[in-house]
Amino acid sequence: MFRTVAELVEMAEKDNIQISEVMIRQEMDVKNRTREEVFADMEKNLEVMEKAIEDSLKGVQSVTGLTGGDAVKIQSYMKEKTPLSGHLMLDAVSKAMGTNEVNAAMGTICATPTAGSAGVVPGTLFAVKNQLNPTREQMIRYLFTSGAFGFVVANNAFISGAAGGCQAEVGSAGAMASAAIVEMAGGTPQQSAEAFAITLKNMLGLVCDPVAGLVEVPCVKRNAAGSSLAIVSADLALANVTSRIPCDEVIGAMYRIGKQMPSSLRETGEGGLADTPTGRLLKEKIFGLTV
């Protein structure tokens, strides 16, 4: 079983296989299951992701009214104008935000690695897909590659906002996605690791400060940050840009920063944006109405 990104990359290089294949073999081994079973389960997750994106493009609204409808706005903007950040980038952003709008509206999603960050991996996948034209199998492999990197983070640091702040959630999700994009685009396992490190470095220190304690503001828009950064980092890695700080050390830094974060900035809804005049007012309005 791999414990670090260095081990994961080494295993892939030694057998001359992709990161996704290392993850698939480990899952078969640890759970004593066949390749077909493992693939079938992951395909179910892929179907849930696809459905959530479809739902979001019809327009959804959360119970509180704080979030919803932005994915639709972005898609119409893309049809009418030429987006400055490029079509693929904005497509990823809208699908990532859309997935999280569905989550906030208590729809069905697949946690990747968490619900609050569930838009990043599928959002990038279903945008990059239009340019790279992957097979269905490659799309499923995208999720195994994301999972392999997330697995290392979860076992060496944390993936929940309550434990380590938003860097642990959207930070991990964005980094996982960038590693998977690299593999799908034909990059090497080491390039995946570089992309992962670059994304996570740029997410370090990000706090978890949800308004009224809800997975809405700023979570939905942070999925935009995670997905766009994932694509940029993947491009950097594919251009052979490397991270000066090795991937595992970046994960270690994320862990120590999370440990130093006060609890007010770890999903308690007490600090940061939650503790702004408007944040407090929204909380009063929402819970004043529903309780």
Binding site: N45, A111, P113, T114, A118, S146, F151, A162, A168
Partner: protein, 220 residues
């Protein structure tokens, strides 16, 4: 390692909005129901840390109730679980507890029916994964993601051997095992995580072994 499957990271499929606070909470409730062995008629639930601060916004309350009703995290009835609980005669009370706990997402569930009650502490460690850390005053570490049997027994010579002998006979492999007791010679708890679900006839056999008081199981 805390996580051993890719599906801990990519998954679970769940009803939003929060993997720790909704999916994880539902799994804690479900673990409590499975260990209790039936649907409780009342539940007093203490919430700590981030659970206490944000449970209303995250639906931690309906998710815990949903778990107690036997709902999995992707059950579409989840957001209506508190209504369903009322219909089925399960009275749930939530207490925001300011006591400090080691983990930010901690819940203590005291549940019961008729004369019987059970107390359990569960933590939600991220991405929907949970651990049961305390049961009726015994400390333990149980993920709820693997099938497991919990055996309350008297702390006597041979109690453990008689259990493992039966498991060996039926070719049931033990993945993780721990034994806790409150005091020498008093009640003790064996927690055994196994690779496959344990059939009821094997449980019967275990129940009849020496020094065994009570057995409950978790089906994964």
């Amino acid at each position: 390692m805390k996580y051993n499957s890719v599906f801990d990271i990519i998954g679970p499929v769940m009803i939003g909005p929060s993997s720790s606070h909704t999916a994880g909470a539902a799994r804690i409730g479900l673990a409590a129901r499975n260990l209790f062995g039936k649907e409780p008629t009342w539940a007093r639930i203490h919430l700590y840390g981030s659970f206490a601060k944000t449970y209303k916004g995250h639906g931690t309350d309906f998710a815990l109730a949903g778990g107690l009703l036997g709902f999995k995290p992707d059950d579409p009835r989840m957001s209506k679980a508190l209504d369903v609980a009322e219909e089925r005669g399960l009275k749930v009370e939530f207490i925001e507890d300011s006591a400090k706990t080691e983990h930010p997402n901690t819940a203590r569930l005291i549940i019961g029916k008729d004369e019987e009650s059970m107390e359990l502490v569960g933590i939600s460690i991220g991405g929907g994964k949970v651990e049961v850390t305390e049961l009726n005053g015994f400390e333990l570490r149980l993920s709820g993601n693997h099938p497991a049997i919990l055996i309350m027994h008297n702390d006597r010579f041979g109690a453990i051997a008689s259990v493992t002998k039966i498991l060996a006979k039926h070719e049931i492999n033990i993945g993780h095992m721990e034994v806790n007791r409150k005091d020498v010679g008093k009640e003790a708890l064996m927690v055994i995580e196994v690779d496959q679900n344990v059939e009821d006839d094997i449980l019967k056999e275990l129940e009849n072994a020496d020094h065994i008081i009570r057995i409950s199981k978790i089906v994964s």
